[in-house]
């Protein structure tokens, strides 16, 4: 349909030209466009940005599905409700749907508006960001806060820097950071992880506070975890309180396999960040902390290193740089967890900080490589 409308109406000079970027966006979203670049030398792949983005979303689906089940499970578990599997899943689905709707409505709304203003094509970068944001917040976060955070992040992190591909920081993480620093009481603590809103029978029942395993381990170590009823395998399967999508190691690993297998995300970053986390965790373990491997399965560590740190726009671009970047992400995240009593979860801060330094890492890697080759050329 869009095709028939396109000539005349939406081309330059057409009546509805001002809408052309929106029409283009939907048109190319559905089908691979026939237009090709005609000038200049360039390397092209059969796969375009939209297909890459879709691949990331597909990789996120296991984590999202598990998140929905877990939201329902946590509610049923905490308030001792007699819910079956589908009941838990439907409750989680209903509870998380508004988060996705708000995230996409606000984010895409701003993207489309700003593309219209700049008379540019709409970028599809928000597809992934919009899917990530609901997965890294507590389920009970108020929707207006989420809308504000999405707006802030899209405007000040993406559009101001020139849109998709030009941003320095991961927009989804900035949205989370905005929420975290603006409204700490809705983003951390022990009363935000389990949602009892929308359960009619729980109206008027006092909220039960539930700490995340990360918080429990922070205060009580492994002993505290087992006192609270969490075994290591619980943390792996992920039926634990936490930000919606980050809890299940299994679901995240399925996503990681999809990402690595399709070549969308860098396995080097994933691997080196886990190595960095393990190394610092091991140092902490020597100082009397919890075993290092607990850091990998708790909180947002794995989700961050698989889906956020590997974001091709904000990560290091050079191959050596990816090792350094990933290692520092993992190491810093655990450093914050171990030695900063103020913020329990270090992954968000570690990735944002390393996003900032990624261009510097690349610069150093490139100039070292140039120097080495120059030396080689001289001696040869």
């Amino acid at each position: 349909m869009a095709d028939q409308n396109k000539p005349g109406l939406f081309e330059k000079g057409g009546k509805l030209y001002w809408l052309h970027s929106s029409i283009d966006a939907f048109d190319t979203f559905l089908r691979v466009p026939g237009t090709v670049t005609r000038r200049g030398a360039h390397v092209r792949d059969g796969i375009d940005l939209k297909r890459v983005m879709i691949m990331v979303v597909i990789a996120l689906v296991p984590a999202a599905l598990f998140a929905m089940y877990n939201v329902g499970y946590q509610t049923a578990h905490t308030y001792s409700l007699d819910w079956g599997f589908w009941n838990m899943f439907w409750y989680g689905l209903l509870r998380m749907l508004p988060l996705f709707v708000v995230s996409y409505l606000v984010g895409l709304g701003i993207e489309f508006a700003s593309s219209q203003i700049r008379e540019e094509e709409v970028n599809e970068g928000y597809l992934v960001t919009g899917f990530l944001i609901p997965l890294i917040v507590p389920v009970d976060v108020p929707l207006w806060m989420l809308a504000l955070a999405v707006a802030f992040s899209v405007i000040f992190v993406k559009e101001v820097f020139g849109g998709t591909g030009m941003n320095i920081w991961n927009p989804a993480l900035v949205a989370r950071a905005f929420l975290f620093f603006s409204y700490p009481s809705s983003m951390s603590g022990s009363s935000v992880w389990v949602s009892k809103t929308w359960v009619p029978s729980l109206k008027g029942v006092d909220a039960i506070s539930t700490a995340t395993p990360l918080a429990i381990a922070h205060d009580g170590g492994v002993q505290g975890l087992s006192d609270a009823g969490y075994s290591f395998m619980d943390l792996v399967w992920g039926l634990i309180p936490g930000s919606t999508g980050e809890t299940s190691v299994v679901a995240i690993l399925i996503g990681a396999i999809i990402l690595v297998w399709t070549g969308v995300a860098s396995w080097k970053i994933m691997l080196s960040s886990i190595a960095g986390g393990l190394l610092v965790g091991w140092l902490g373990q020597l100082g009397g902390g919890i075993p290092a491997y607990y850091h990998i399965v708790m909180g947002g560590f794995l989700f961050g290193s698989v889906f956020m740190a590997t974001d091709p726009v904000t990560a290091a671009q050079t191959e050596t740089g990816k090792w350094i970047y990933g290692f520092l992400v993992g190491a810093l995240a655990v450093v914050v967890r171990l030695w900063n009593p103020g913020y329990m979860e270090g992954m968000m801060l570690a990735i944002l900080l390393m996003n900032t330094f990624a261009p510097l890492i690349d610069h150093c890697v490139v100039s070292v490589s140039i120097k080495r080759r120059a030396k080689k050329a001289l001696t040869a």
Binding site: P184, N340, P341, G342
Partner: protein, 263 residues
Amino acid sequence: MNTNNNIYTVVYTSVIVVVVAALLAFVSQSLKSRQQANEKADTISQMLTAAGFGTKAEFQKIGNAAVLDKYAQEIAEAFIVNPEGEKVADLPLDEVYSPSQLKAQNYKLKGSDVPELPVFVFKNGLTVVPVYGAGLWGPVWGYVAFEEDGVTIKGAYFDHESETAGLGARIKDDPAFQAEFQGENADWEADVKVFEIVKGGSPKNADGSEIMDNRIDAITGATMTSIGLENAIQTWLKGYSKYFSSKEQPAPAEEAAEEVTEE
């Protein structure tokens, strides 16, 4: 005129410096009494705020003279104790300890000299004592008001010189932080901390209400200020611990009742 020869330069700068120094010295001297009056009224209003006679904003509104009046009405006695809990001297009722005086006592408290610790007792039985220490960027100080039992904290007010606005400065600006002290208890046992400012604060009762103990929640994002304030409170209240322990009376009625039920 040649303004670049050496003698001219030296004479010129000397004259400028002397003139400026004289001017500043004159201004400083002539404004000193006003500044001290402001500081005293500020200190008194902080003590009154800690004791719950009003809020800092209210005292600011009514002005210095009214604050001094209010203080004169409410104060019963003021004296100095030593760390052994013994009263060593009386203070005139219109005299308070300025932050710089607290600083001097803080050195003694940490060193080997015997500090002079001021105690302010109000007519309604409240006892207000100061605390002083180092925050992140500069000194932090404040006043803690105790109920008659010498254990329960009635209220507290804190001030600082240069903590980060919005973070460490919340020890002064955030009424919620100061309200956390209300109803908590100091722990005068010799070998434990008198009071703690920790992440998470006190554990909760089953019904979600806070257990009143000697802990309150630290300020998120202001770890160093929280630690500094805790150390200030710890150092100073330790100095007062013998004074307050001697005041603390065991509750004989309750103990007797317990014995009866045990039999």
